[in-house]
């Protein structure tokens, strides 16, 4: 089990694409079992026993699990579906999971789809399995299950290459770690002898990693502490003109009907100026719906939402923005128009500010973009299409767009999912700076570490209801975990 560690854009995925024949190298050789091989297409890679699970799954949605598995090996003649089912079930046994071979892939959860990808590779008798950022899309329970599956495979003698930018996962699961930075392997070490700070330094190329509020005394997670510097971010945001004695965001009796039960069931929540309130919960317990309702994308069936004393319940998205609510939702790709440029995406929420007569004021848009690119250190030019940006830079574009209006309240969902350490650090710094300026932040995250590091209070959402609230000083991962599982009242 070999892990490949590196920040976004360090070249991890490029290397894997070359191994799997999706990209061609300019020079160099690949050897398998000591034999140099040429891999010019995925078919070659499969023949040489390389199996790959990419970040974006290569599954045909409307087909069954069996058909997806058969797609690779099948000739042109009649399909042997019975044998296919057997292959699926056998492979599933090897990794210790159950799966229905006749289920349609697009009806499966993300975690199950990933299992299908692994089954595909196994059914082709791969000798090396490459997993590219396999945990980025998974919820915590699925990550556990994935790790168990990987261990079964390595115990059975298979080579597994695990690509990640998450230090903790790499140290949990791997035997050896190679660190990739700017297209070079900077070091390969045995995991056993490596510490997280050491790996982090290798990966980023400098010492400081992580953000923690300086007023935070209780440190909950021990393994990352050493890597974190205790620095208040050095960022200047002008204090916002907010009344400090009233909640900036208040939610009362919010209800939204779902397919079987209420997706949101009587949510009561207030966020005060200068406060970060964290919402913890296992995904699928109403977080997505909460953000949708707060963003004005969906209308609640009951309840009211007020931003700075303005009722925005059921208001259109534009009015929600005008009331002073900034939003960063969990699916960052759904919030940008990929084919439009960075500068165009940056002004998308308030085009009316960039008009000259009936026309767009191109110069103002460009100036606005240049300023935000500078301020949020977005690694792109104003005229680059957003589709060409990495996840971290896309998130910075969204952050820039939301924050450029100096919102009084912020609703932020999974802001660092899939981001590397550097980008996540940047996002955290920005949120803390907003809090310091007096904005109220509602932070919805599945990353407990993130919540514990940033929030003043943490509420737990379970089956559409808030089941507990803890000041961060009293919150521990264990207590939160029990609440998230719906097992205890606070």
């Amino acid at each position: 089990m070999h892990a490949l560690l590196g920040e976004n854009g360090a070249g991890k995925t490029t290397l894997m694409r070359i191994l799997y024949g999706l990209s061609r190298p300019d020079s160099g050789t690949i050897s398998i079992g000591g034999e140099p091989v040429r891999i010019t297409s995925p078919a070659d890679a499969i023949t040489h026993g390389i199996g790959m699970v990419t970040q974006h799954f290569s599954l045909v949605g409307p087909m069954t699990v069996t058909d997806n598995v058969l797609l690779a090996g099948a000739g042109v003649g009649r399909l042997d579906r019975r044998n296919g089912r057997r292959l699926v079930v056998e492979a599933a046994e090897r990794i210790g999971v159950g799966i229905d071979p006749d289920a349609r892939v697009d009806r499966l959860s993300v975690g199950e789809q990933q299992r299908v990808e692994i089954l595909k590779a196994l059914s082709r008798d791969c000798r090396v399995l490459i997993l590219d950022e396999p945990t980025a899309v998974l919820v915590p329970q699925d990550i556990e299950s994935l790790f168990r599956s990987i261990r079964r495979l390595t115990d059975a003698g298979m080579g597994v290459l695990f690509i990640s930018h998450k230090l903790r996962e790499v140290t949990t699961i791997s035997d050896r770690v190679s660190v990739l930075r700017r297209g070079r392997i900077v070091d390969t070490v045995a995991t056993r002898g490596a510490s997280i700070p050491q790996l982090a330094e290798l990966m980023v190329g400098r010492r400081t990693v992580g953000v923690r509020r300086s007023d935070r005394q209780t440190m909950h997670d021990t393994d990352l502490d050493a890597a974190r510097s205790i620095d208040e971010p050095d960022l200047e945001v002008d204090a916002l003109d907010v009344p400090v004695d009233r909640p900036i965001l208040s939610i009362r009796g919010l209800r939204l009907a779902g397919p079987s039960r209420n997706a949101l069931d009587g949510i009561e929540l207030t966020v005060n100026p200068g406060e970060i309130v964290g919402v913890a919960g296992v995904s699928g317990n109403g977080q997505t719906e909460l953000v949708q309702v707060l963003s004005g994308v969906r209308h609640p069936d009951a309840g009211t939402i007020e931003v700075n004393q303005t009722d925005i319940t059921g208001a259109a998205a534009a009015d929600v923005i005008a009331a002073g609510l900034g939003r960063i939702t969990e699916d960052r790709h759904a919030c940008v128009v990929p084919h439009l440029t960075v500068e165009q995406n940056l002004v998308l929420e308030d085009l009316h500010r960039f008009r000259r007569g009936p026309f767009l004021d191109k110069r103002a848009i460009r100036a606005h973009a240049s300023e935000l690119i500078e301020r949020f250190s977005i690694k792109a030019k104003p005229e680059d299409p957003v589709a060409t940006l990495s996840g971290g830079n896309t998130q910075k574009v969204l952050l820039g767009r939301a924050l450029s209006r100096d919102p009084l309240a912020l609703v932020v969902s999974q802001p660092t999912r899939g981001l590397d350490v550097g980008a996540a650090e940047f996002v955290h710094t920005q949120l803390i700076a907003r809090r310091a300026a007096g904005a109220g932040v509602l932070l919805i995250s599945e990353d407990l570490e993130e919540l514990l590091a940033l929030a003043d209070r943490i509420v737990v959402i379970y089956e559409g209801r808030l089941v507990g609230e803890l000041p961060v000083a009293d919150a521990t991962p264990e207590r939160l975990g029990l609440l998230m599982a719906g097992e205890a009242a606070a």
Binding site: Y20, S58, V60, G61, P62, V76, L79
Partner: protein, 299 residues
């Protein structure tokens, strides 16, 4: 009276044959992710080319084989534009249609000028004395062999699985070691042959000759039928039969005294109205093949 019903159903089967052939061809292309708008031109070229070769060789069968060859080339030509060069599929298809129709009309004018177009020794109906069963061999083949084969191939063979995979998610097919381009070319080749066979049926079986605008928009009808059928073989066959039934009905009604007051144009428009109506009713909430209209490039 019973005889009239049988005649109606018999006419429906004959009229449906070219539609079903071409619609199956289009369905194969579209399941592979390619909207082949060359269909109208391919049918036209199949009709004219098949007719011309039949005249020259004296054999309708030779004409049919020639039509298949023309269809193959036409399919590969649209494929070359849309797959190889990544041209917009609408442009590639409509361009090919315009080109093929113009070429056929041009050759037709050179060959026969303003004079009359000769008659060809056309296919004969089997079982000529039995009302319903008296059909062309090609009609039997279409409904009893070709349609079931297309159904089974798409559903239960490796080729069909690959074809659907490149139409739904070419990235996944590529990662599974399937050649996206080769599979799509194969679909275009087979699809083109079926379209041209449908066209040739018009000249070599139904008419025995060639007239300008012989396909008369049947290719476009087939496009609608495939969407109406939601890319399913059985539904496409039934859709073709429905259109043909209304067409056969209006042909009967035109010669029925009671309906002599209805303008002829209304009658002719009837089957098209039915197709538009069926599409309007069924066209909502469609799930198109995932890679519909998308050229594939490894990024």
């Amino acid at each position: 009276m019973e005889l009239a019903y049988l005649a109606l159903v018999g006419a429906m089967l004959t009229i449906a044959t070219p539609l079903v052939l071409a619609a199956l061809g289009e369905l194969i292309c579209e399941r592979a992710g390619l909207l082949n708008l060359g269909i109208e031109g391919t049918m036209y070229a199949g009709a004219f080319g098949g007719f011309l070769v039949a005249i020259e060789s004296g054999s309708a069968w030779t004409g049919l084989v020639a039509a298949l060859g023309i269809g193959l080339l036409a399919g590969l030509f649209v494929g070359m534009l849309a797959i190889g060069l990544g041209v917009n599929q609408h442009v590639a298809g409509i361009g090919t249609t315009l080109l093929l129709i113009a070429c056929c009309d041009f050759i037709n004018r050179l060959k026969y000028g303003a004079g009359s177009v000769p008659k060809v020794e056309k296919f004969q109906q089997l079982f000529a004395d039995i009302p319903l069963a008296s059909q062309y061999l090609l009609t039997y083949l279409t409904f009893l062999v070709i349609a079931p084969v297309v159904f089974v191939v798409l559903r239960s063979t490796g080729f069909g699985l690959r074809l659907r995979a490149v139409g739904e998610n070419p990235e996944a097919a590529d990662a599974a070691g399937v050649s996206v381009a080769a599979t799509r070319y194969a679909a275009m080749a087979v699809g083109g042959m079926l379209m041209a066979a449908g066209g040739a049926f018009l000249t070599l079986a139904i008419l025995g000759s060639f007239t300008l605008n012989i396909t008369n928009g049947r290719g476009w009808v087939c496009i609608a039928l495939v969407i109406f059928a939601r890319w399913r073989v059985v539904a496409a066959v039934l859709g073709g039969l429905l259109f043909a039934f209304v067409d056969a009905l209006q042909l009967q009604l035109v010669i029925t005294p009671e309906f002599s007051g209805v303008p002829r144009e209304v009658m002719i428009a009837l089957p098209y109205v039915v197709v538009i109506g069926a599409l309007a009713l069924s066209g909502r909430n469609l799930t198109y093949p995932g890679a519909y209209l998308q050229p594939y490039r490894r990024s």
